[in-house]
């Protein structure tokens, strides 16, 4: 077990090292074998670790060596396997493996094949370090590592301006969040004297009253980190632009795994959040606002990947909403199901882009007939994200809505408002996803050329992930069906009941639960029907066109994402540029360059004088030496 955990993170690292140093000299098949093989090995070992944990559900931590020991704080390089880590480990390696397979086909014609795969492997290494770490510092290392890989992969086509700029944008916005995270870690180190989860949480559990104030501050700092990484308000702006990267990267990093790291971290630190009702309220409100805000922006996008990007932000908002009302297991369940259907959606969009050579959904259309596999898997995952019963998203989203409703009923009346937002978001989600589906697959083909189905290496992952969207939901069946809720039971050790901290589950009557479930299905169905009526055939678009023509200002505002980017540029960006200009001209130009140039001038002056000693004559140099010796001799004796 100890060796297996270590090998899980080291295998992708080895793959990265091999491909980054020798990738250019290896044949493509070799690069593929190294990259996919190392991740495959990780996935197999992850299955083994999952099996071992399921047969004996005891959290285990293994220490490999001590990184740092200063004063009383000791930071080991240690990995741990508990329920939360193992859940993440399972889907990260599983989805990651299939996306590696998919990339073989998608990146087929790419010049920088080895570079792409080396980055992808490095990402796997960092992400696995993040989820398996057993202390905050190691988690931060993984956290920064995934940020770096995200930057590298968004800017993969660095010869063009948009991807290069987007990579920088993602990195900088993430850094803002990381700063909050780092401050949170410093707080933990000073107040708890250790960074290991086990010790920190044990101290917090033993005496929650002693840390009441500081725990809330720590929780908020950590949440700032989470908003950066998981693209929540107000730091969400980088994610839509992250779509500049290759599509499998969007699927892996910007949908399935990395962006959920924030949710993972909040769930991991739930004891901090539960110490402070205010922090929880902040999380819930930010989550709900992000969900509806992003969903409304997704309504008018025409770039297929941007629609999916906004839907990712919106779904992440759902997860934080769940975490904010204390339903951490439910949040993680949504992370889990979301990984499958969103990865499948992105891979499906990659397959479409591969076939049509455009991102604009209005240049696709009628692809139902030519791309059968892509069509069916896309339909499956659309049903899943919209929340149609038996597909995965239905179970997790319904659980979130029910949790919020129950939380509100449990004397937090203001939370009914959040519930309302979540329901509206559910309608919007269903609407824009089916809009996407009908525009792309319905009607007649409107683009150029003749699209054809993608190769097997791309369709196989689609089939696997799409098929699973219809299955994984059953891991978290609501109680009313009188079936075991496996997910909740699995994650139970995550949220221990502690006297003096907020609870994590609120119960509803069965009748209420049925009503909510039927309600959410109806809402999703209404969204579907509305989209079907407006976008099913090319002819039915006329109403939409008329509407946008009648309200150009409304449409433009939504289409331009409420001008948030422009707002940031005018305020934060302008301020920053002003400060930079001041630093450049005054601080750098006068205060720093002045002395430097002055010293340079003196050096030049001395050199100009002394160079007359160096007349290039060997014998003069000999004379100088002897002169020096003579002076020394007279000085010594």
């Amino acid at each position: 077990m100890k060796a297996a955990l270590l090998l899980i993170i080291l295998a992708p690292l080895a793959g990265f090292l091999i491909n980054v140093f020798f990738g250019r000299r290896l044949p493509r098949a070799g690069v593929t074998a190294v990259a996919v093989g190392s991740v495959g090995l990780s996935a197999l070992l992850a299955l083994f670790v999952c099996g071992a944990y399921l047969s004996a559900p005891e959290p285990a931590a293994f220490e490999y060596y001590t990184v740092l020991s200063v004063g009383g704080v000791t930071i080991p390089f240690a990995l741990q396997a508990d329920a939360l880590s193992i859940l993440m480990l399972f889907f990260v390696t599983f989805v990651g493996f299939w996306i590696h397979i998919y990339s073989i086909g998608y990146m087929e014609h790419e010049e920088d094949y080895a570079r792409y795969f080396s980055y992808l492997n490095l990402f796997m290494f960092a992400m696995l370090t993040l989820v398996l770490a057993d202390n905050f510092l190691l988690m931060f290392v993984g956290w920064e590592g995934v940020g770096l890989c995200s930057y590298l992969l968004i800017g993969f086509y660095y010869q063009e301006k948009w991807p290069a700029d987007s990579g920088k944008k993602a990195f900088i916005v993430n850094r803002i969040g990381d700063f909050g995270f780092l401050i949170g870690i410093f707080f933990i180190a000073t107040h708890f004297g250790t960074l290991r989860y086990e010790e920190v949480f044990a101290k917090l559990q033993a005496d929650p009253g002693a840390y009441l104030g500081v725990a809330g501050i720590i929780a908020l700092c950590l949440f700032v980190g989470a908003t950066g990484k998981s693209a929540q308000l107000p730091l969400y702006v980088w994610l839509p632009d992250a779509m500049a990267g290759p599509t499998p990267v969007s699927a892996l990093i910007h949908a399935a795994t990395m962006v959920t790291a924030g949710v993972y971290m909040v769930a991991r630190c739930n004891l901090f959040f539960r110490s402070s009702p205010e922090a929880m309220a902040v999380v819930a409100v930010v989550g709900a606002l992000t969900a509806i805000f992003a969903a409304s922006m997704g309504l008018a996008q025409t770039d297929i990947k941007k629609v999916l990007a906004y839907s990712t932000i919106s779904q992440l908002g759902y997860m934080f909403l769940a975490a904010g009302v204390g339903a951490y297991a439910v949040a993680m369940f949504h992370v889990f199901t979301h990984a499958f259907f969103k990865a499948c959606l992105f891979l499906g969009s990659g397959s479409l882009i591969h076939a049509c050579h455009t991102n604009d959904i209005f240049e696709m259309g009628g692809l139902r007939k030519v791309m059968k596999t892509t069509h069916w898997t896309f339909l499956f995952s659309t049903l899943a994200i919209a929340g149609i019963p038996i597909w995965a998203g239905f179970f997790s989203k319904d659980a979130i809505l029910a949790s919020v409703f129950a939380f509100a009923g449990h004397h937090h009346g203001w939370a009914y408002l959040l519930w309302g937002l979540a329901v509206v978001t559910a309608f919007m989600t269903s609407f824009y996803m089916f809009r996407l589906y009908y525009v792309v697959f319905g009607g007649e083909y409107r683009g150029k050329g003749h699209p054809h189905e993608s190769p097997t290496s791309m369709t196989l992952p689609l089939v696997v992930l799409g098929g699973l969207t219809a299955v994984v939901g059953f891991l978290g069946v609501p109680v009313v069906f009188h079936l075991p809720n496996l997910m909740e039971r699995f994650l139970e050790p995550l949220t221990p009941a502690v006297e003096g901290l907020a609870g994590t589950t609120f119960h509803l009557s069965h009748g209420m639960e049925w009503a909510l479930m039927i309600g959410s299905v109806v809402v999703a169905g209404l969204g579907w029907l509305a989209a079907r009526a407006l976008y099913r055939t090319d002819a039915s678009w006329t109403w939409v066109k008329g509407f946008t023509a009648r309200h150009p200002r409304l449409y433009d505002t939504v289409f331009n994402k409420y001008y948030v980017d422009e707002f940031y540029d005018r305020t934060v960006g302008a301020a920053l540029r002003g400060v930079s200009r001041f630093c450049f001209s005054i601080i750098d130009g006068v205060l720093i360059e002045g002395p430097v140039n002055l010293s340079g001038f003196f050096v030049e002056l001395t050199g100009n004088v002394l160079r007359f000693l160096h007349n290039g004559n060997l014998r003069t140099y000999a004379l100088h030496i002897v002169l020096g010796v003579a002076i020394l001799l007279w000085l010594v004796f």
Binding site: R611, H614, N615, G616, N617, L618, R619, A622, L623, V626
Partner: protein, 98 residues
């Protein structure tokens, strides 16, 4: 006898020094250096004899070895320079001068 050896060493050393500082031909500079080395060797042997210890003689062995190494490399450089500049005068070798 030992005093005489030391005096001779001094005189030979100064002669070598004069050659190095005053002669123009590179090959003569070599000879001057060798002369100085020999003077140093002589003083080493003289002191060794005076003290009755052998360490001075060991130093001479090292000096001779190092001198031969120096001559080998130095002559190689000299040959290259002579081929290139067609002169043995060190005064003409000043192309790197400012």
């Amino acid at each position: 006898m030992i005093f005489l050896a030391l005096l001779l060493g001094l005189l030979l050393f100064v002669l070598g020094l004069a050659v190095v500082m005053l002669r123009r031909s590179a090959i003569l500079l070599f000879l001057g250096i060798e002369l100085m080395l020999n003077a140093a060797n002589l003083t080493f042997v003289a002191f060794s004899s005076a003290n009755g210890a052998l360490d001075g003689q060991i130093a001479v062995i090292f000096t001779i070895a190092i001198a031969s190494a120096e001559v080998g490399v130095g002559l190689a450089i000299f040959i290259v320079l002579f081929r290139r500049f067609k002169t043995q005068s060190v005064d003409d070798l000043r192309i790197l001068r400012w």
